[in-house]
């Protein structure tokens, strides 16, 4: 039997009191009522000498009560085998935050110092592991390594720590903690498990995923929050543009100031821009404003905020406009480019350069030497080389006047006849869900009633299960748009041309979206590149090899299918065989929310936080004490002592009551 408070056992010495009281030579205390003391003289009370114990049962009960009281207060518990076997050693995982916000002031130095302090505090018999985290957990020193080479771990870990610097990544504490739980391997089962989290615990950190797990009861988390001299911070992040499609769309940014910040004045300017172009203004604490970036007269790629104490989140990189060239060839006379009745006339006017696309329209009666990205054929044409062109990935749009070309390309038995009726046709069924008609997926744009076709050809397919897919039909049931995937390429067949002689298509609002939809289908998306944040993968064409030059001018060669996860902010140059692109990678906006969280916030997610006493360096005895307290609280033996004590006291009362009845009376 063990005692939680053995000092109280000394209280059992109090049994000397009842023994002495029972032995005390005391004058008789009995009182007798008598009618008159007329005939009685007072006598000196002779103390009753008690050389032997009287009422020994009473004395025994009283002593027992005192002993039980002392036992009860000393909180006994029985140290079971398992708890005795539990080693006082601990398995400690030090989690070091190295997200971008740790770049502030000397936080990283503090973090290293705190980690080393924890390392030094650990005994040789303790198991230590160290991991760093930002978006994810990176083990630096595992429990297994520690088990194999515990002697030189301090040097080894210090060396590894020295090589580390904070990254530009966001903080995802939830993922890090979830990943940290399994790192306590089977060798640590008997040890006290603890995680020391060394972090600035900024409010921008992610915690939501912690709700998805049940935190192990035996694992405690000690939070060592690092606080810089000031948390005042201005941060900027890209906001959505008003109109992404136009090349000269204004860059809009979101500027935030921390709560209770003393900072107000800021200057926003493009790098190397003249001072006159800078925006100088004020932002109140806790506010968030959307601003339009100042005019970018120098075509700079970096927007810089000044006036802030922590500059890690004061830059925004914006890739320069770099439209990709689309080579479009119209098989026909180039001379018709300015003839309002020719199809080329409308193509040339519809295919205007955008922020992301730079269409180059050539027209010739021959196929170009370098294969065009998209080829337009109106009328009949010799099929020489076209099949190859398509099968290698070409994109052909044709308005056939006879079946020859189609037969060659598709290998189907079909007939193309001119529809000679005088009535105009309208589109009846349009498969707007088809990728080639994606621009019309929006119900607002599905009104084709103003589109009239004066002339069309009836394309009759005689083969069953043709590879030609009908995307749209006229109101007489004849197919209007057909498509077929041939080899790697795509064939689009229009039953009617877009020039005014055939239809109103070129003059309608549907023409340009239709063309750009085809461009997108051909691999020339004109959507602006999504803003990338650190940690995102660069959008790469899986079929090609790439060379990536990061902002530090290091090159990375990637084989086809490989991905590249960004770890730095700045402009990344992505080179492939086809084209070169600059991609801007920015800091995750949440990283700028640097106000510290209270460590107790973690407890709301079910994490067992270590108490203040446990986090102190000299907590070893406290730990043992806590184990004992736990055991004692589980067993609650003192309760039984209390019950026995009450029983003894009741018995004592009964015995004392009975002996009181035998007070002196006339015999």
């Amino acid at each position: 039997m063990n005692w939680l408070f053995p000092l109280y056992l000394a209280g059992a010495a109090a049994i000397i009191a009842p023994i002495l009281l029972h032995l005390r030579r005391r004058p008789p205390q009995d009182r007798v009522e008598f009618s008159s003391l007329l005939f009685l003289d007072a006598q000196t009370p002779v103390p009753v000498s008690k050389r032997r114990l009287e009422n020994w049962l009473l004395l025994l009960l009283r002593c027992l009560a005192l002993i039980l009281l002392a036992l009860m207060f000393s909180r006994p518990f029985i140290q079971s085998e398992s708890t005795a076997a539990a080693s006082p050693n601990s398995a400690t995982l030090i989690l070091l935050d190295r997200s971008a916000s740790m770049r502030r002031a000397d936080l990283w130095k503090q973090a290293i110092a705190e980690a080393e302090k924890q390392l030094k505090a650990a005994k040789l018999t303790d198991r230590i592991a160290l991991a760093v985290f930002d978006r994810e957990l990176t083990p630096l020193w595992s429990f297994e390594e520690d088990r194999n080479t515990p002697a030189n771990r301090l040097t080894a870990i210090q060396t590894r720590l020295a090589a580390l610097t904070p990254t530009w990544n966001a903080t995802q504490l939830d993922r890090a903690l979830i990943a940290a739980v399994p790192s306590f391997d089977s060798s640590t089962t008997t040890l006290k498990k603890r995680i020391h989290l060394v972090s600035d615990l900024q409010e921008g950190t992610k915690l939501d995923a912690l709700r998805t797990i049940a935190w192990p009861a035996e694992l405690t988390l000690s939070v060592h929050r690092l606080d810089p001299a000031t948390n005042d911070n201005l941060s900027i992040a890209l906001a959505a543009r008003e109109d992404d499609r136009s090349a000269d769309a204004l860059v809009r940014i979101r500027l935030s100031n921390t709560r209770d910040s003393t900072l107000r004045d800021f200057t926003l300017a493009w790098q190397n821009a003249p001072k006159s172009d800078a925006i100088t203004a004020q932002i109140p604490p806790g506010a968030s404003r959307i601003l339009t970036a100042p005019p970018n007269s120098t075509n700079a790629t970096t927007l810089t905020l000044t006036g802030d104490t922590h500059d890690f989140d004061n830059r925004i990189f914006i890739a320069p406009p770099q439209p990709s060239t689309v080579r479009i060839h119209f098989l026909g006379k180039n001379a018709t480019r300015d003839e309002a009745s020719s199809p080329l006339y409308y193509l040339a006017r519809a295919l205007q350069p955008t922020a992301t696309l730079a269409p180059v329209l050539t027209a010739d009666e021959k196929l170009p030497a370098q294969p065009a990205d998209i080829l337009f054929i109106v009328g009949s044409a010799p099929p020489d080389g076209l099949r190859d062109y398509i099968e290698r990935g070409g994109f052909l749009v044709t308005v056939p006047s006879d079946a020859t070309l189609l037969k060659t390309l598709t290998g189907l038995d079909l007939a193309v006849t001119a529809d000679l009726s005088d009535e105009y046709r309208m589109l009846a069924e349009v498969k707007t869900e088809h990728p080639l008609l994606k621009p019309f997926a929006d119900p607002k744009l599905r009104d084709f009633t103003k589109l009239r076709f004066w002339k069309h050809r009836h394309i009759e397919i005689k083969t069953a299960n043709p590879s030609l897919e009908t995307l749209a039909t006229f109101d007489n049931g004849h197919p209007a748009i057909l498509s077929a995937r041939i080899g790697k390429g795509m064939l689009i067949v229009l039953a009617s041309g877009w020039h005014p002689a055939d239809s109103q298509l070129a003059l309608s609002t549907k023409f340009v979206p239709l063309l750009y939809g085809w461009l997108a289908a051909a691999g020339f998306s004109h959507d602006p590149a999504a803003t990338l944040l650190v940690g995102d993968s660069l959008p790469l064409d899986a079929s090609q090899a790439h060379t990536i030059t990061d902002p530090e001018n290091k090159t990375h060669s990637l084989k086809p299918g490989e991905t590249f996860t960004t770890i730095q902010i700045g402009l990344h140059k992505v080179q492939s065989a086809a084209h070169t692109q600059k991609v801007a990678v920015n800091l995750p906006p949440d990283e700028g929310r640097v106000l510290p969280l209270e460590p107790t916030k973690l407890a709301e997610y079910g994490i067992k936080l270590a108490t203040a006493s446990e986090t102190s360096a000299a907590s070893e005895t406290t730990d043992q004490r806590l184990t004992a307290t736990d055991t004692e609280q589980r067993q609650n033996l003192w309760w039984w002592f209390l019950v026995t004590l009450l029983a003894v006291l009741l018995l004592e009362t009964a015995v004392a009551g009975r002996s009181r009845h035998s007070a002196p009376a006339p015999a």
Partner: protein, 305 residues
């Protein structure tokens, strides 16, 4: 009368109603008697005397006047009857009792018994209770309901006070103008130097004085064994007493006290009855009646002599 047939006082005291208790005793006694021992002395010789001026004409015996043409005054029957005043000690010391009943219980029963007995004979009985002075006073009467009043008064709990025999007896002398019998029921646990003077006064007033001296068996024999603090019931004073040592002195002093009382009563021709509370009541009553008869007889002898 053999004592074995008497009712055990402890058993008697178990009867809750005082009236019933008195009745039990009186009935028992009544059955044992063939002739009232009081007959002859309780009714004094009634006489006619010649009317003198100043007498109340109410008392003229008109029948005699009609028959003999003389005016005689007839003495009233009640005047010749015994007027007995029961004087009960209600002091705190009377509340002592080593048995299941106290001296006060015994005294009340005795008084009730006497009252009941006397009133049954046609005598008048009154009641006076005293402690450190007269508490209640009921003049002697023989009317229906008077016994009830006496018993109610007896049942009233005693006032907590000490005994002042001489003062109380002195006050009593003022209250009782008519001659009669006075039965003083007390434990006489008070200095009796002054009492003697008062007894003499009452005797001189022509009262016939009877003292019932009640004592508990524990008071008589002092049978305590363990040393203890003894507390005086009247004064509350405490004294440490070792009974082993104190008994001899106690008994000696008690004997002197009793002797003194005996001597005083003898001197003033007061009838003295020593009544331990474990003595059956009938026996006390019987002794009392026997003594009265003896007194009457001796009176007659002395008168004839």
């Amino acid at each position: 009368m053999p004592s074995a047939t008497f009712l055990d006082p402890a058993a008697l005291m178990r009867i809750k109603s005082l009236e019933l208790r008195a009745k039990v005793v009186v009935e028992g006694l009544w059955k044992g008697m063939h002739r009232s021992p009081y007959h002859g002395f309780s009714v004094e010789f009634s006489e006619y005397r010649a009317y003198v001026q100043g007498d109340d004409p109410r008392y003229i015996d008109w029948k005699v006047l009609a028959r003999s043409d003389r005016t005689y005054i007839k003495k009233f029957e009640d005047e010749t009857n015994l007027r007995c005043q029961l004087v009960i000690d209600h002091s705190k010391s009377m509340k002592y009792g080593s048995q299941s009943y106290t001296k006060a219980d015994y005294a009340a029963t005795l008084a009730a018994t006497l009252a009941s007995f006397l009133m049954k004979q046609g005598d008048a009985a009154g009641l006076t209770t005293f402690a450190d002075g007269i508490e209640e006073h009921l003049p002697p009467r023989n009317r229906p309901g008077h016994l009830r009043r006496i018993i109610t008064e007896l049942e009233r709990p005693a006032k907590a006070a000490g005994t002042s025999l001489d003062l109380s007896v002195g006050q009593l002398a003022d209250l009782l103008r008519k001659r009669g019998m006075i039965c003083l029921i007390t434990d006489l646990l008070a200095p009796i130097e002054h009492l003697e003077k008062q007894l003499a006064l009452l005797g001189a007033m022509g009262h016939d004085l009877v003292i019932f001296h009640l004592m508990d068996r524990a008071e008589i024999d002092f049978t305590f064994e363990k040393s203890a603090h003894f507390r005086d019931a009247e004064t509350g004073a405490e004294r440490f007493i070792d009974p082993q040592i104190a008994r001899e002195t106690y008994l000696k002093r008690l004997q002197v006290h009793r002797d003194t009382i005996q001597a005083a009563t003898d001197r003033h021709n007061v009838e003295y009855h020593f009544c331990p509370t474990d003595q059956p009541l009938e026996e006390v009553l019987f002794d009392f009646l026997s003594a009265r008869q003896r007194k009457k007889a001796s009176k007659r002898i002395s008168q004839t002599v």
